[in-house]
Assembly symmetry: D2
Homo-oligomer: 408 residues x 4
Amino acid sequence: MTDAEALAARVRKGKLRLHELDEHADPDTAATARRLFLEDVTDTDLGTVGEYAFPASEAESNIENMIGTAQVPMGVVGPVSVDGGAADGEYYLPLATTEGALLASVNRGLSVIEWAGGATARVIKNGMTRAPVFRVRGVAEAATTLEWVEDNVDALRAAAESTTSHGELLDVEPYVVGDSIYLRFAYDTKDAMGMNMATIATREACALVEAETPAALVALSGNLCSDKKPAAINAVEGRGRSVTADVVIPGDLVEERLHTTPAAIAEANTRKNLTGSAKAGALGFNAHVANVVGAAFLATGQDEAQVVEGANAITTMEARPNDDGDTDLYASVSLASLEVGTVGGGTSLPTQAEALEVLGLRGGGEPAGSNADALAEIIAVGALAGELSLLGALSSRHLASAHEDLGR
Amino acid sequence: MTDAEALAARVRKGKLRLHELDEHADPDTAATARRLFLEDVTDTDLGTVGEYAFPASEAESNIENMIGTAQVPMGVVGPVSVDGGAADGEYYLPLATTEGALLASVNRGLSVIEWAGGATARVIKNGMTRAPVFRVRGVAEAATTLEWVEDNVDALRAAAESTTSHGELLDVEPYVVGDSIYLRFAYDTKDAMGMNMATIATREACALVEAETPAALVALSGNLCSDKKPAAINAVEGRGRSVTADVVIPGDLVEERLHTTPAAIAEANTRKNLTGSAKAGALGFNAHVANVVGAAFLATGQDEAQVVEGANAITTMEARPNDDGDTDLYASVSLASLEVGTVGGGTSLPTQAEALEVLGLRGGGEPAGSNADALAEIIAVGALAGELSLLGALSSRHLASAHEDLGR
Amino acid sequence: MTDAEALAARVRKGKLRLHELDEHADPDTAATARRLFLEDVTDTDLGTVGEYAFPASEAESNIENMIGTAQVPMGVVGPVSVDGGAADGEYYLPLATTEGALLASVNRGLSVIEWAGGATARVIKNGMTRAPVFRVRGVAEAATTLEWVEDNVDALRAAAESTTSHGELLDVEPYVVGDSIYLRFAYDTKDAMGMNMATIATREACALVEAETPAALVALSGNLCSDKKPAAINAVEGRGRSVTADVVIPGDLVEERLHTTPAAIAEANTRKNLTGSAKAGALGFNAHVANVVGAAFLATGQDEAQVVEGANAITTMEARPNDDGDTDLYASVSLASLEVGTVGGGTSLPTQAEALEVLGLRGGGEPAGSNADALAEIIAVGALAGELSLLGALSSRHLASAHEDLGR
Amino acid sequence: MTDAEALAARVRKGKLRLHELDEHADPDTAATARRLFLEDVTDTDLGTVGEYAFPASEAESNIENMIGTAQVPMGVVGPVSVDGGAADGEYYLPLATTEGALLASVNRGLSVIEWAGGATARVIKNGMTRAPVFRVRGVAEAATTLEWVEDNVDALRAAAESTTSHGELLDVEPYVVGDSIYLRFAYDTKDAMGMNMATIATREACALVEAETPAALVALSGNLCSDKKPAAINAVEGRGRSVTADVVIPGDLVEERLHTTPAAIAEANTRKNLTGSAKAGALGFNAHVANVVGAAFLATGQDEAQVVEGANAITTMEARPNDDGDTDLYASVSLASLEVGTVGGGTSLPTQAEALEVLGLRGGGEPAGSNADALAEIIAVGALAGELSLLGALSSRHLASAHEDLGR
């Protein structure tokens, strides 16, 4: 009987609990024991879940009760030239997904962009937020607390930044609802996505608020952050990176490669992404930005639940007359709240780190923050490609056929 | 020189393109060739990406330009007893994530639920939607087109259902904006998530609309569906499964296991998830439902971009007096638009299929649809556990500490 | 000392309260007494407030504690030809407002519409809603309650319609959030705006729900109605009348009369009303529909607070090639939730009734509902005119100048 | 034949148009001529419309094509004591409405507040916004334009403030969507509601932007303002005054006067105003704030279409244990975007000016802005009273009965 078998037996007998296995064995043995136990009680085979490509110890900070890995097919699209504020050059973008036809679609879009000379991209705004909620006795106390906050931003900054070597407090924005005060702290977290950094820094600032004002902390997150929820505050004001990518595509290229026209794409975009989304009460005015964001997040070790904010994007398509008397297609996608990092979180897991290396963006950038900026810009270009391709397909009625052919 | 090396060389020389490799080699060799090429042009090592646990041919319908897999740590939480409309019994829930502390948090919540006797869950509504957009000449034509639609739902149903052996058309809801008509088709797609089934069926129905009315199809999806975008229409009317899970937890259990009180949790929930979300202009009134949805989606082969709709959830927490004069905690989470399946998409990929087997929900259910219903109910219970645990932690101020201890 | 002076003196001495005056005098004397009292304690002159044009008794069902009237300037715009589902012919539209330049703007738009041959309008959907909220013990009880509701719509209809001679129950749509059930009752209230009719009918239906199910009524309105609040449910699903008005304007008319081009107006509309509103997290994608709705509501005795829902409107503008090779402007406005009536509420007040008579729509229509339909259509045409005019002005940069010239 | 009859005859003959009458007669004669003409062509009697209480010349800057006035019943509620940042003392609030039972309801709420010692109110934020939209060639140009804006806020302020003696530019917030740039200018417009002041000042600032950057103005309002449309940006960030009013009401007072309990009101508020609104996809989480805002706006000469933004309000109700071991009710209402003024617009019309005098707030305040602040605070207290009364009625099931008794 192996160690793992012995441990699994003890779990079966109720002498150990699954999460206690880490105290009795190395991570791989603990994972094996959990699989053995699960296979036994659920009468299943976890063979491929257990066949992972790295020591379980490398995932210790990413998961508890590990049993193995989910293996999500990873492919690559590109190359595409990006003229960004941080990104600069030709990139291959790894994407992990289970949705057939997605990479083919994005790749088609990227090749059109490449034929047009590449895309432009810029991070327009950057700030990771955390917004604690405090209780006061009423609005009179709220008003005096807000005055204190306004007068003591430097002290709050000092407190917040005392917890981090990289992060910088950018702003504290107050909101009042009755006897609740929300303070939305925004940080430049450089190459980290920064949610954790922001939380820890804000906790320290909250201690100061509590010490100096009548406000009592109710929850370190009061949902004006807003993390992993669809919320207008992120779509309007941004969270993480606000990034836009765009391209001008000559009309003949649109016809040749997308089998449609700038005017037809612009019409489809207006009726679907603008008017349709408007009627749907949407915060996302795009076709399928989340597909590209999700697949890039999975490939590069981002937080998959933050695909939620990644979907806060507006796509515009415009038939634009050019100087030669022809009509080009101007296409853009603006992601309001793309939360990405190249350090921390899942970015150092083996397959994800390799994907970041393909982009040349593993680890901290020089200057700090430039790798995460570049990642945001490249993902935006990928999203732009997905929009172009899908709108092209829709306006030439290929959506369902594409899916059928590619066999989903 | 291996076949893969030879192919990679041809790609380098520009004689082959990455996506053409599938025509010249088996899937694994093609993936190897792509890795070799990428490693060369980006000066990287894709060793772990290439070390996947199944023949690449099994992912053919899920990805193009495959280079390997992203390996996302998978763990397991539970067991938890679920009294559902379809789910019934004790379940272990596999979750794949890179966010440290998440499984520990959900597991803590599940154990509280289990101590309280398990959770209740029900799928309240079910319907996968696709909403094409048509162009008419104006509102007069829109009105007559709508009359035709209203009078011919049976014909539309026949057309739509002619494309599918399982799917059933439930409803066609029309919307008009100027000279655009949107028809929101809703289907019971049984155990499939059903996006593709709905698309194909709707295409057929659209052909009928175009043949019989003046309306001209502009795009098969007009964003009133609304797929992978934050949109009120899904939060209000639902998409996929609308599912609620709830539990009543005795007050002493709350104090003992969550170190807080029903009243404190209710207050934190009201100030954060209700009032805070209200002030944020949110469509999601919860703490971190997307975390659990995302991790369950990854583990079980769901579409990761549909985490967007999965975040349309409302959490309620209520201090409820009981007959003994004590105060219980009533906790619920209602997910408006959880899009899940147990067949199709990524569900048959090897690691994902194993995860579904752990749940006893791989493949079609008996009756049809019951497996997907059960999966929705169990994910909802997992989300409920995450809410309970995080709100407990927030109201006892443990959020950041928990993250620090668990080392993210 | 007049009666009114004597009564005012008694109020001053604390022997009577303001709202008790109706028990001691006729409505006009009571109003006079209140003015005298107020003039005294606030040292003011209420001369014009007291100089109203009808017996106070005619306002008894519209106000309490009456002191007189607010006199809001009323003007008239038109004539405009409307080809509606109910409206048919040439109309002058009375508008009451304090915003200088508004009528001039709407009038300019109407004259352009008239030159183009008049506007088309249709009521696409009609239903006044009331949505009570019930408490159950949990989702299991919610599910069984919903089953009962689904099986007993006829009984609910009978109960609801027992309270009204005109109203018809169209639909009952259930929503569940944890242990709260919301039932959205929708009624055809014919020529009445119908909020009160819907409330009374729903109360009767609620009694049946409470008698037959475990659900307990918490509030007769649970905000899924949703009355006088900005809410996506109304923007998406409609409330009151969903009405669209549109017009095709020849390009030379646009240039001659609006001093701009179809393309320039379409661009301004896309960047402002579609993209700008999208970025603003809006439920209203228009320029100033609320201005026309508000002014028409005031003139015709509608509920001024329902201007809120009246603003849920989408404006589209499109440069549309015509058969002659020229480019027309297609302009439309779609109001999702316009709540209007020609009977009840403020419609029988003297000045408001006169305004309705100018429209030929005072009182009940033949068939029932047609007067309110026509009113909705004409207001929509007025709103369309306002959009056309303002977008024309914006795209030719006249907004602020217009206001300056007209002296606000 | 009077002058008016003669003029009306010329209109009938097509020799004059309605809006040209002002050039041929004094305002009252012109209005009479229009009535005569309308009465003739529509076969109506405009007797009460024409019986207005002031010279038509006083409304010249408020309306065009005047025919008379709409007379809306005005009543008064109060007195109520307000402890505000600007308001201080006891106030009677004039309200104009056609909705029976409204004043009775608000009055009931105010009397409960008064019994509890009066309400507290504070303006938390103040800023009237105007957000033009510019076109650039793409995001690269957008980024450099934003840099220019950031570096030249002082120059923009100088330009903007050159147009106004009172207004102050507070902030310029940029937003980018593709090739559109939106600059949200926020102003302190003191005692004016300020929309026009903001428009004129912004136009001047836009000229500078156009002169110094590649950006071209498309529309002076790009809907990120956002005026008279439901939009999250206003609900989140505020527009005009962001004002909160609150009160603590002893439990026995709740029972005695509202016939319910703090817990029952809190429950009704949570299920209706918070959870129900959440499920409705709302931007307004209240019961009927718009009713009070609308009626106060009408009485005091505010812009009735801005009731739209006035509805962006959150009501909270909380059963709060006090030091005596009893339970009080904490009630609050927070209006995010209340746009009010005491100078300009309709505030100087005779009946409206009288209503402002009743409040002691006619004209500019000392210091500047204090009158508008006080008006916002008092309206907020009125709204709070309305919420208290309606929630009390709902939780004791009196809503429909109240309406029936009061005879709507």
